[in-house]
């Protein structure tokens, strides 16, 4: 009897992280990717590894677990693949959340206090400390809180590094390979049928991001994961202007909101290349990939409220992507209740880059019968938000 055969569907950050954990545990892993690795949602985000935007609860616990795991994961990758690990561009730069109104300040103060209870470091900054930390930030603010735990990565480089480490550990990648359906026997999945042949499987991990709903449907066990659109502006390279991940306190509200219409809040940060990334927007528009000038305009306006001196900065690029959205805003990590052998690791909305490390560890714990790194119950697939029919797109 050979090693357990696992087929991971999707080579974004979640699929890559899961493939790596499972391959390192000795399983025979095949990664099936319809397009190219790290080319869809993973390549269209900002590379957030955030604890600051999550209130107390299971998602914050997963974020804290992930944040603890990341340095070790990257060290382990670097031990064999130093170049790949360098391409991750790990920046533990910390985040600063700024409230510009009195009401926003009260909300942020409450939010940060609750986070501190849950183990997050959240330090209020006075005007002098804020000016020292971010000299170009508006002086017109009501409250600023520093979160040293926030970090940033180059997301496609991170997924590529995790996948490369998985391949080194024996995983096999099949790119340009689309899932068509599942073979089952006695209520158990036995193989995945793909555009390039049938792949025998003892277990299958659905890590297809915003396409997870459709992938699961093809396998015969639909889950309610929908796309939620986001856009990011990129400036031309500039002298150092922004030193942390800086965002306005509205961001927390926008992340937690389920509204379909445009939610926008300023998220401003620089990259190693000298560009500044300006986010972010959230819209539920199905898979409509049109970039709307009106949305970009709102993002620009919000960013200027935080950094008025950026008014002359040149925007040279904009990109947009789709987050995997679940109506109750929690990821789906665990076995499918209807089809034995099918597992889900999806639904991380805009937090998948940061949460991938903890997600992969938790999934591997569950699949291998190890003691789980945290309580997996809140993420289980048989909760109503996941199995409901959902609204039609």
């Amino acid at each position: 009897m050979g090693a357990t055969r696992v087929v991971v569907l999707g080579a974004g950050i979640i699929g890559a992280a899961c493939a790596r954990e499972l391959a390192l545990a000795g399983l025979a892993v095949t990664v099936v990717e319809r397009g190219a690795p790290a080319a869809a949602t993973t390549a269209h985000g900002e590379g957030n590894v955030l604890v600051s935007d999550k209130g107390p609860g299971p998602e914050l616990d997963l974020a804290l677990l992930s944040r603890r795991l990341w340095p070790g994961v990257l060290d382990a990758v670097a031990a064999h693949l130093p170049e790949a690990a360098a391409a991750v561009e790990w920046e533990p730069k910390g985040g600063i959340v700024v409230a510009t109104t009195a009401g926003g300040a009260r909300e942020l103060e409450r939010f940060a206090a609750a986070q501190r209870e849950a183990g997050v470091t959240a330090e209020p900054l006075d005007a002098a400390a804020l000016a020292a930390a971010e000299p170009h930030l508006t002086r017109d603010f009501a409250l600023a809180v520093h979160y040293p735990g926030d970090a940033q990565v180059q997301p496609a480089g991170t997924a590529t590094a995790l996948l490369a480490d998985a391949l080194r550990a024996g995983a096999v990648l099949r790119a340009g390979c689309e899932v068509l359906g599942a073979d089952t026997a006695g209520g158990r999945i036995t193989a995945v049928r793909t555009s390039t042949g049938t792949i025998g499987a003892d277990a299958v991990v659905n890590a297809a991001g915003p396409w997870s709903g459709e992938t699961a449907r093809r396998l015969g066990a639909p889950v309610d994961v929908r796309p939620r659109r986001g856009e990011v502006l990129v400036t031309a390279p500039m002298p150092p202007t922004v030193f942390h991940k800086v965002y306005d306190a509205d961001y927390v509200g926008a992340v937690g909101s389920g509204a379909g219409d445009l939610q926008a809040s300023a998220v401003v940060e620089s990259t190693r290349a000298g560009t500044i990334l300006l986010g972010s927007s959230r819209r539920r528009v199905g898979f409509d990939e049109r970039i709307r000038p009106g949305v970009l305009s709102v993002i620009a306006g919000k960013a200027l409220r935080l950094f008025p001196s950026l008014a002359g900065a040149t925007v040279m690029r904009a990109y947009g992507g789709f987050r995997p959205y679940v109506p109750d805003h929690l990821p789906v990590i665990g076995p499918d209740p209807r089809l034995d052998g099918l597992w889900h690791a999806t639904g991380h909305e805009g937090a998948g880059i940061g949460l991938s490390a903890g997600t992969a560890r938790l999934l591997a714990d569950l699949m291998l019968g190890r003691d789980p790194a945290m309580d997996p119950a809140p993420f289980r697939a048989d909760r109503p938000a996941v199995l409901s029919e959902g609204e039609s797109r």
Partner: protein
Amino acid sequence: MTRHVVIVGAGPAGLAAAASALRAGARVTLLDTAERPGGQYHRMLPDAYRAERNGRLHHGWARFDRLRRHVLGHPRCAWWPESAVWSLERSDPGDPAPPLVHVLRGPADGAGRDRLVLRPDALVLAPGAHDRVLPFPGWDLPGVYTAGAAQALAKGERVVVGDRVVIGGAGPFLLPVAASLIEAGSAVLAVLEANPARTVARGWGRRPWELAPQAGKAGELAEYAALLARHRVPYRTGRAVVEARGDGRVEEVVTARLRADWSVLPGTERVVAVDAACVSHGFSPQLELPAAAGCALRDTASGPFTEVDGDQLTSVPGVYAAGEITGIAGAPAARAEGLLAGWLAAGGAPAAPELRPLRRARDRARAFAGRLAAAHPIGAGWPGWLRADTVVCRCEETDFGTLCRAADDRAGGAARAVKLGTRAGLGPCQARICGPTVAELLRRRAAGAPGRPAEGLAPATPHHRPIAQPIRLGELARPPRDPHEKENTP
């Protein structure tokens, strides 16, 4: 009601489209990023330099001047110079309206450009093309110019790029560039066509009856050839500039004989002392606007172009394309296409008898474009000129070796991941220069199967630039003004 036709680009195609749309009764808004109409072909001297010499360097100047005066002076034409289309906003699926045209108006380097939005009944895209330049060791040295830039400096600013210049690359455009430099006072040491005489002759000589209607073009080229001969400038085929060297600036170039596939014939290298070099390997159509409008592209041996039907209509309702974005065929073809596109965009009758000769001229011009492409192809062997440390993306200084390593990475060799990992094409020019080169290098190295289409995930293309022109954050934050708002809302 009068149709409103927006025309992007005031080169030969755009000007012709404007004249034709006006003739058909439409209201026209003609935009160009330049201060003056004419495009790259009829590059006009700035006022300060304008002299009677202006006409001398330009072919068909009198005709152009008449057209320009007619269009710009027409009461139904709004001429918007220094106007950049930074975004085309596609309509909802099923809505036949052409995209909204988002414009920045005012000097690009000035503060506070006006942000405007136009809601046309039809859109004619005629943005033209820019030089395509292949990389070679030292091509990023100061003193190495694209042939187009050298010509623009000579024609537009009366600036010579150097005293001793070698011109190299592929295509008939090398000749007018040489002529401009000679006129401006440079010593042109040689004009090097990379393709062997055999390829050039086969391309130009095949189906000679197609050539007759392009006699004007052939005559123009003969004139340039005579000028070269008068100045004893050698025109060599099968030879190319394969390296530029110098300490902080080009001091010499290495030229070499090439095989038909553009690989270097060893032992034929020659070192030539120069103070400038001009290179051009053909033209890249400016496809970001057709791509933003959602127009289908058609792949050809010389790269992708905008797909149009016999009426110059793209795959998007209400969006027409004319000139080099449909195929590199020169100014006469661009004019014929512009005239057709403008008339039809304005709602002119497709069966109008005066369209018949236009369609014929356009078809002949297309055949001519095919002939041009066959006579001056880009050989597959050019990557052999590159060394590991040859810069491929000049903005981000990504070298060939880094690109190859990234492309060969099993876990991340796809276009998007390579781009993000190496930053090739992510700099200020947004892959306008290196995009086709990087795409070609990746295509050749890609081992894996191509990806399958996915809903919401457009295939990676170097022409995808949703922000088609740089925009300042302050300009973007302001809401746009609709100059026709009163007329549009009943």
